[in-house]
């Protein structure tokens, strides 16, 4: 039987020629990632159960990324424990404040097309942007650390065929929100989303990571993009020169097939209480906001920061709005600094913070009751960024930047049009 990308990866990771959807298999991850939020607790719980050693420690990446710089006594102790336990357990890499795990392992060349990656963090599937099947296992990572293996039910796949090219002012975020409008939680559940089609060629690897990372928020197990020439060029730049293209086998079976014309899309915004509640930006034009945030594993990329800086150039953030910008990794931070992107953002009124997950889960820049924020982060559940009745809207960096200028949710295309006119 012909296999989807996910099946191909799981077959290899379980030492089999082929696997069928629905089968329960034992698979061995090639890469195992955990942030400091979880790592010391995992080691402690394993030791409480008499498990002292990791089966495959060199495959483990630990990243201090959720609270950077540390701003609590508990956090300081947690980081000290993380550093000590990373050394004791002999993990392959400890990244200490160098950025958010998912973009970090990609920019450091630690994940390859066809890799089976297991992560503690919810948004691990963003590694699908380079053709890896990356699955969040949360606390189950303890079993992987202990045994090197995990039970996996082989998932069915939903194919998303992308055609066309995004119009100016429309981004990968808008594309994935459009996909959410077509794939509900029932269809996504226990399934992998596979991105392909002629439109994929127009999307950069960081954009593909945005697509894959946000699929978890529609309820999918994971997501993966086809690996094409463009992806291989990107990988060569991060030191992986022997990767090969990866696609589903012709004639494989899909649970559903969705076709999206990227050229037909407009800016979209997720409204409370969940990312799948998607509206067009026009429908929210009167929505006031007091906070705006550009960052997170999904959007803290150099391209998104640059696009926001271009839009904000020569303009000032609305006096009633706090705009916070956080590059996703130290390398992006440095590039954005060297290219003057951070200077332009700051000039427009933005506050820049060092790479961290911070605001995405309410660990930094919390919201007071009744406040509203538009954000490029991943989720908008009630209470996620502080007060339970604060409202969180999710959109692209361009939509966030346009909204920060207006003090209410705004369509970036109008500003881009203004700029392009002489």
């Amino acid at each position: 039987m012909a296999m989807t990308i996910a099946q191909r990866i799981l077959a290899r990771a379980s030492g089999r020629d082929s696997v069928e959807p629905g089968e329960v298999i034992w698979a061995t991850p090639d890469l195992v990632t955990t942030p400091e939020v979880s790592f010391p607790t995992y080691v402690k719980r394993l030791r409480e159960h008499g498990i002292e050693r990791f089966a495959l420690p060199r495959r483990v990446v630990v990243a201090i990324d959720h609270e950077v710089p540390v701003h609590s006594k508990q956090g300081a102790e947690r980081n000290r424990e993380t550093r000590r336990l990373a050394a004791e357990t002999g993990v392959g890499h400890l990244f200490d404040g160098e950025g958010i795990t998912h973009p970090l392992v990609v920019e450091r060349g630690l994940v390859r097309p066809g890799s089976f990656a297991a992560g503690a963090d919810t948004h691990t599937p963003s590694l699908g942007g380079v053709g890896a099947l990356a699955v969040p296992f949360g606390f189950e990572l303890t079993m992987i650390l202990a045994t090197g293996r995990i039970w996996v039910k082989v998932p069915e796949t939903v194919r998303v065929e992308i055609s066309g090219r995004l119009a100016p002012g429309v981004t990968a975020r808008d594309l994935v929100l459009a996909v959410m409008g077509r794939v509900d939680a029932e269809l996504a559940n226990y399934r992998v989303v596979e991105f392909g089609g002629p439109g994929l060629a127009h999307l950069s690897v960081p954009e593909r990571m945005t697509l894959c990372g946000l699929c978890i928020d529609m309820g999918a197990k994971s997501a993966v993009a086809e690996v094409d020439r463009h992806c291989l060029d990107f990988l060569a730049e991060v030191g992986i020169e022997d990767a090969e293209p990866l696609a589903a086998e012709p004639g494989c079976a899909y649970a559903a097939r969705i076709e999206i014309d990227a050229g037909s899309l407009s800016p979209q915004v997720s409204v409370p209480p969940s990312p799948t509640h998607v509206r067009t930006v026009e429908a929210l034009a009167d929505t006031e906001i007091q906070h705006a945030y550009i960052g997170s594993c999904a959007s803290g990329t150099l391209a998104e920061l640059s696009a926001a800086a271009d839009l904000l150039e020569g303009r000032q953030v609305h006096p009633g709005v706090q705009l916070l910008v956080i590059p996703a990794t130290r390398r992006i931070y440095q590039q954005a600094m060297e290219q003057g992107v951070l200077a332009r953002l700051t000039r427009a009124g933005a506050t820049i913070s060092p790479p961290t997950c911070g605001p995405c889960f309410g660990g930094l820049a919390q919201l007071a009751p009744d406040e509203a924020r538009i954000s490029t982060s991943t989720r908008n559940d009630p209470g996620r960024m502080g007060a339970r009745d604060a409202r969180i809207y999710l959109g692209s960096a361009l939509t966030v930047a346009a909204s920060a200028l207006a003090g209410r949710i705004a369509d970036p295309r109008a500003l881009l049009l203004e700029r392009s006119e002489p």
């Binding site: 498990i51 949360g138 202990a146 029932e186 969940s274 889960f361 989720r379 559940d381 209470g383």
Partner: protein, 174 residues
């Protein structure tokens, strides 16, 4: 024994998010004795005080959606609660099993028939839910023997230890 539970039905609706079960500001907290105080604290404040071991959280579709956090299940385990829901996605399903929470995925029709405060007797291995308040008995798909085995051993960590002791671990190092 985790195969059957008897207790009160704590009824919730559809799309009860993980972040509502335990607000994510407590993501750094892993002590079950502290986490139990936060379980549904903003949605149903009396639950953490009044729930007894053997009680069931009974929820609608898409239970514990969103953040893939073990925290709600650590709290439920500490409190001895079981779970019946209409549906839940893969993340919370796996976590519930791994944390040793017995559960049944019962579908919307069965869940709709269970009222808040009803007295329930639940057999997870058989997939049987007896509602003593209404006198109705419901049959649903039971938890598979493989998964019930993990739950019965107290969850994935105890199960992992048995694998380690049996030498059933991956050895190939890259």
């Amino acid at each position: 024994m985790t195969e059957s539970y008897r207790g009160r039905c704590w009824r919730f609706g559809d799309d009860l998010a993980s972040d509502e079960l335990i607000p994510p500001q407590h993501v750094f907290e892993y002590d079950p004795k502290i986490l139990r105080r936060h379980l549904l604290a903003e949605v149903r404040p009396e639950l953490s005080q009044q729930a007894q071991p053997g009680d069931m959280i009974v929820a609608g579709r898409n239970f514990a959606a969103g953040s893939n956090h073990s925290h709600p299940f650590l709290a439920m385990r500490e409190m001895g609660l079981g779970l019946i829901c209409a549906s839940l996605s893969r993340g919370p399903f796996r976590l519930a099993v791994f944390m040793g929470i017995p559960l049944l995925v019962a579908g919307s029709e069965v869940v709709a028939a269970l009222g808040d405060g009803d007295s329930l007797e639940v057999d997870f291995a058989a997939g049987r839910i007896a509602d003593e308040t209404t006198g109705q008995e419901h049959r649903v798909e039971p938890l598979s023997p493989f998964l019930l085995d993990i739950v019965s051993q107290g969850g994935g960590l105890a199960y992992a230890r048995s694998l380690v002791e049996a030498g059933e671990i991956a050895h190939a190092e890259s």
